[in-house]
């Protein structure tokens, strides 16, 4: 049994998402400022009201979050930088929650965002990591597409999954995205469209890939007392896990760090997968969502395709999944991709999700995955958010 302590007394509130833009002439600073302003406005706070800031961004260079504090004119007694891409939402949340719980900060704003210039994606790739530079890019330069193509290929060989299995996930998410006015993808997607799409890196085709874009996401972490005082709808944190570089000896990635910590997650929350009203997985590629359902205990290894085949993953379905459309259909705004599920889940359990609202949503699982350093994603994390009963 682990020694993890509860997050009693700490809550998450004031979810905010900027609209996403395919290409932006603005900078990361602009997008982060816009999201910070949005979350503060949602809470009725001025920037002087926060004393903690957590930042996740790939395109702030040459600044760090330190530079951003002066840029945005915020005086802080707690400052964090989360260079963990798709895991940044969960990691930002758990660190901020502990800081508030310990009294190191009163109110922490967690923001993530990136700009996307015409050449940003290529530049980001070219300086992403040393192992990528030495051992990935010289081989076809497919970027993450080719690495995930290999995982998908291996997963299909090992467990008999088909492209249709992955396609159903993408199709359901597109249906959800059509309800989300901020989503980049506005046209319906059929399974046929998915299967016939232009090949990118076999077996990955166009609709397995996210659309890089500009945008930002934010939320606040504060004491429950503070949230009640301000009359803010909030969510509690029932449990969280985080893991880096799990299973390094696996010859190819078919599982993530969740598999090491999943028991802790559910026992900390005192819940089980069936208690979740919705699930937000990190969907940089459908195979990764499939892995998360398995590693987070919804079904056993290799069985997610069958498990998902019998379920409706749309907002009105029996297992609402990536309700804002996920990155596959809403877009991947750099590090904000790691916040997308968290902010949407927060809206869901506080029943402020508007057009994507899942009826009576109370418990949500949010999962993160990030950083393809070489041949696999190294960071994984998950959190369970719970709202008040309706």
């Amino acid at each position: 049994m682990s020694r993890r302590q509860s997050y009693d007394g700490v809550v998450v509130t004031a979810p905010f998402s900027t609209p996403y833009e395919r290409y932006s002439t603005q900078t990361a600073h602009y997008w982060l400022a816009r999201a910070l302003k949005g979350t503060l406005d949602a809470a009725g706070l001025r920037k002087e009201g926060i004393d903690g800031l957590s930042v996740a961004s790939f395109t702030l260079f040459p600044d760090s979050p330190v530079g951003l504090s002066q840029h945005l004119g915020v005086t802080l007694r707690w400052l964090d930088s989360i260079p963990m891409g798709g895991a940044s939402g969960v990691v930002a949340l758990r660190r901020a929650a502990r800081a508030v719980q310990a009294g190191d900060a009163e109110i922490v704003a967690c923001v993530a965002g990136d700009t996307n210039h015409i050449d940003s994606f290529r530049k980001l790739l070219s300086s992403f990591s040393r192992f990528a530079m030495d051992a990935a890019y010289p081989y076809g330069y497919g970027g993450p597409n080719s690495m995930f193509a290999l995982l998908t290929d291996r997963y299909m060989q090992e467990y008999g999954a088909t492209r249709e299995d992955f396609g159903r996930i993408a199709v359901a998410q597109r249906e959800n995205a059509l309800r989300n006015p901020n989503a980049l993808m506005k046209r319906p997607l059929s399974l046929e469209d998915y299967l016939e799409a232009r090949p990118i890196s076999d077996p990955i085709a166009l609709f397995d890939c996210v659309m890089p874009c500009a945008g930002a996401e934010a939320f606040l972490v504060m004491s429950e007392e503070e949230a009640v005082k301000r009359g803010l709808p909030f969510a509690r944190i029932a449990g969280t896990i985080e893991r880096h570089n799990a299973f390094p000896d696996d010859p190819i990635q078919l599982r993530g760090g969740w598999a090491l910590d999943v028991e802790d997650l559910w026992s900390m929350a005192g819940m089980k997968p069936a208690d979740m009203d919705l699930v937000q997985t990190y969907d940089d590629y459908p195979v990764i969502s499939v892995m998360q359902f398995e590693d987070l205990g919804f079904c056993s290894k290799g069985e997610a395709p069958a498990f998902l085949r019998d379920r409706d993953l749309t907002v009105t379905g029996d297992l609402p999944h990536n309700t804002s459309g996920g990155q596959l259909s809403a877009g991947q705004a750099g590090a904000a991709g790691g916040f997308l599920g968290m902010v949407e889940a927060l809206r869901q359990v506080t029943r402020t999700a508007g057009p994507t609202q899942v009826a009576d949503a109370k418990n949500a699982l949010v999962s993160g995955f990030g950083m393809i350093n070489y041949d696999r994603g190294l960071c994984s994390g998950a959190a369970i958010l719970t709202g008040e009963s309706a």
Partner: protein, 416 residues
């Protein structure tokens, strides 16, 4: 099975020249170990001196025990291809042009999983062999090939891109008067070279190799005097646009070091041919080759210098000649860096004493022309930077690696 490579059509002069672009070339310092091994055509990976773990990608510490002494050692290249993909699209201009491009994950028997290029004949789930090769950017990369040889294996587009195979390429051998010239021309033609141009100086002066060269189908004798700038420039004007592989085999040598000679006359001749001759050739042919690095199947691919192994350590019996070889070797390093943007490789074939009049005093083993020709062709196929031709060259290179100063004394006869 690989489709045999078709002979390329004649170049259409009205079409825009395809500009050479390179695969990503930046590497960490640790990763240069792979490049250094590929330059010699050896498959080496990092081994921890302390615990023996074999690791990849290259690191600065052992992934198993944090040991800091990491050695690049020859490694068993056999593994299983456990996943593969065909990359259809890339933000990188080189791979955009090359697409579709096959890559995959090989689980090596020695331990690590390796993401690498994959030969078209490799079967997923089967055993493959990894080769270490230099890519167009001159950096070390790994490619999986079938464990057993398959028909037309060398014609696989990925493997061909990592070498400078003479097949369907046009070659210039700069000096027909060298005793080894006919064997070299024949070996290249046998390897599928489309045309072999052979330079000859002082054409009025007969030489025994001429009749052999004349008889070969595909050989074109061209006037070329490396000591005369205008002669070199003239030939480059005539055939510079269709030299895909240039092999500089010219050599002027006389025995003796510094004190055995009363003047600098021979030293000047040695430098004139062996060093300045290379410089003239490079200035006349280099820019054109650099620009034609992406010219399809018969693109400019390699520059070869045939030098004495004593370029790396001087044997005073031929001290002055060896100094010119050292100068040429140094210049070739510069040329390598300067041709790299065009994707053209520079290779040195290091020879021990050759079996000819100039080395008559030297005991065997000595190199026959056929051995040099085979080394050149194999080196081109493998796309390496250094070829050690014969036992003497290999022996000196090994001694040099162990301690250059000891080798210097050995060559001077001071070691019993």
């Amino acid at each position: 099975m690989t489709d045999p490579l078709a002979r390329p059509p004649k170049k259409n002069p009205q079409k825009v020249q395809t500009v050479p672009v390179l695969p990503p070339s930046f590497r960490s310092r640790a990763a240069m170990g792979l490049t250094a091994a590929a330059a010699e055509g050896r498959f080496k990976l990092q081994h921890c001196a302390e615990c023996g773990t074999v690791q990849y990608p290259p690191r600065d510490a052992c992934v198993s025990c944090l040991g800091l002494e990491l050695l690049w050692k020859d490694t068993d290249p056999v593994g299983e291809l456990i996943a593969d993909t065909i990359v259809h699209t890339s933000p990188n201009l080189y791979f955009r042009r090359q697409a579709p491009w096959r890559c995959g994950t090989v689980r090596l028997s020695a331990g690590p999983s390796i993401f690498c290029h994959v030969h078209g004949d490799c079967v997923k789930g089967s055993e493959v062999r990894l080769l270490s090769r230099l890519d167009r950017a001159g950096q070390g990369v790994l490619i999986a090939i079938p464990k057993e040889t398959t028909p037309n294996m060398a014609d696989d587009p990925e493997l061909r891109e990592l070498g400078a195979d003479p097949k369907h390429r046009r070659v210039l051998i700069t000096d027909g008067r060298q005793p080894g010239a006919p064997a070299l021309a024949k070996a290249l033609l046998d390897a599928g070279a489309m045309t072999v141009f052979v330079g000859e100086g002082e054409t009025w002066r007969p030489y025994p190799e001429r009749s052999a060269l004349e008889k070969m189908d595909g050989v074109n004798l061209m006037p070329l005097d490396l000591t005369d700038t205008s002669s070199v420039v003239e030939l480059a004007g005539e055939i510079g646009g269709k030299v895909d592989i240039l092999i500089n085999n010219a050599r002027f040598m006389r025995p003796g070091g510094v004190l055995a000679r009363g003047d600098t006359a021979f030293a000047r001749d040695e430098m004139e041919v062996n060093y300045l001759g290379l410089m003239r050739l490079a200035q006349a042919f280099g820019p054109g080759m650099k620009a034609r690095g992406a010219d399809g199947i018969n693109n400019a691919a390699a520059w070869v210098n045939i030098l004495s192994i004593n370029a790396i350590a001087n044997d005073p019996a031929y001290g002055s000649f060896n100094a010119s070889q050292a100068a040429a070797l140094s210049l070739a390093q510069s040329l390598r860096a300067e041709l790299r943007p065009g994707g053209v490789k520079v290779m040195t074939v290091f020879c021990g004493p050759t079996d000819d009049d100039w080395y008559q005093d030297v005991p065997p083993p000595k190199l026959l022309p056929g051995a040099i020709a085979r080394s050149v062709v194999q080196g081109l196929r493998d796309g390496v930077e250094d070829v050690l031709c014969g036992d003497v060259a290999k022996d000196y290179a090994e001694r040099w690696r162990q301690d250059p100063r000891v080798l210097e004394r050995e060559l001077a006869g001071d070691v019993g």
